[in-house]
């Protein structure tokens, strides 16, 4: 099997804080997308994805997580694809989002996400694996990385790659 390529489509490194980062007019030339987010946060924020500006409750999430002592699993249908939730911290934290068959017009879009999740209300570090579904057959042409509450701080990085078939 050939090694899948990571071709950079677009990137953003924040020079000032922002409540969202948008990748628009996404090329439809790839099979899958990979979004790597490394977040610097001095306040409470999420790394959540919305596609094509859809803010409806069309996103299903199921996840499993470990906090260093307990393993658990849960699910949620909400208005975004879940990434990590970050309480104030000085360490950068990372999430990798895989978005499969993003240009297909005959299937809902599936996502897989891995993240170190510092926790929201209580800053307990966790490692989390998410599976998500966007209930739409539209090709993804825009991704908004949304902080949900507060903002992303200076130095946060967002890299969007295309994976060739």
């Amino acid at each position: 099997m050939a090694t899948p390529t990571y071709t950079l489509i677009d990137s953003t490194v924040l020079g000032s804080s922002a409540s969202s980062v948008t990748f628009s007019s996404i090329s439809q030339d790839y099979r899958d997308l990979v979004l790597v987010v490394e977040l610097v946060s001095t306040n409470t924020s999420f790394a959540a994805l919305r596609f094509n500006s859809d803010s409806g409750s069309n996103y299903s999430n199921v996840w499993m997580q470990g906090d260093g002592s307990t393993a658990s699993s849960s699910s949620q249908t909400t208005t975004y694809i879940r990434g990590f939730s970050s309480a104030a911290r000085t360490n950068p934290i990372m999430a990798t989002f895989q978005i499969m068959d993003y240009s297909a017009t005959d299937k809902h879009k599936s996502t897989l996400t891995r993240s170190l999740d510092p926790g929201l209300s209580t800053p307990v570090d966790k490692t989390v694996a998410y599976a998500g579904r966007w209930a739409s057959t539209s090709a993804i042409t825009q991704i908004d990385v949304v902080a949900i509450s507060n903002s992303y701080d200076v130095g946060s990085t967002f890299y969007l790659y295309g994976i060739e078939a």
Binding site: T3, L8, M64, Q65, G66, G68, S69, A71, M94, K126
Partner: protein, 159 residues
């Protein structure tokens, strides 16, 4: 994603696999490792030119799930020498922003399976506390790595 180097352990085994003089023109690093130890250990260390480590894992065995944390560099999975012959463990390590002068965020996915008698699937979230770019990377254990253990180092660039 561009291959930087692949190293395969030769006859007689090796104490470690080392990548040195890592190019600094990438954004992220990916290590794909297939390994087997020559003692009873099924985890080995991944260290850099500097840094201390902390991690949290989520582990499934096929019958139960558990979570643990640690402050060492042993987050790379190998086939145990007690395993069936030719059984190797596999680990992928993703290191974000490896040239930064801040702590490094690392995501690890690994599997270990021994002829249906033992199986592990595990994900680690690792933090490397360091204020330097990663210029070298070493995989090593308490015993040698067996012949045919292989590691490939890739860089993901912004080209």
């Amino acid at each position: 994603m561009q291959l930087i180097e692949t190293i395969e352990v030769g006859s007689g085994g090796a104490a470690s696999i080392e990548f040195t003089s890592i190019p600094q023109d990438g954004v992220d690093l990916v290590v794909k490792f297939s390994g087997r130890s020559t003692n009873g250990a099924n985890r080995i260390a991944c260290t850099f030119n500097s840094g201390s480590f902390s991690w949290i894992y989520l582990l499934g065995t096929g019958s139960s799930a558990s979570s643990n944390s640690g402050t060492n560099s042993s987050y790379v999975y190998t086939g145990d020498s007690d395993y069936t012959a030719n059984t190797f463990g596999n680990t992928e390590i993703y290191i974000a922003n490896y040239t930064s002068a801040t702590d490094k965020s690392i995501s690890v996915d690994a599997v270990n399976e021994n002829n249906a008698t033992e199986a592990i699937q595990v994900i680690h979230a690792v933090k490397a506390s360091m204020s330097q770019s990663i210029t070298s990377l070493t995989l090593s254990g308490s015993a040698n790595l067996a012949q045919y253990s292989t590691a490939s180092l890739y860089k993901i660039t912004a080209d």
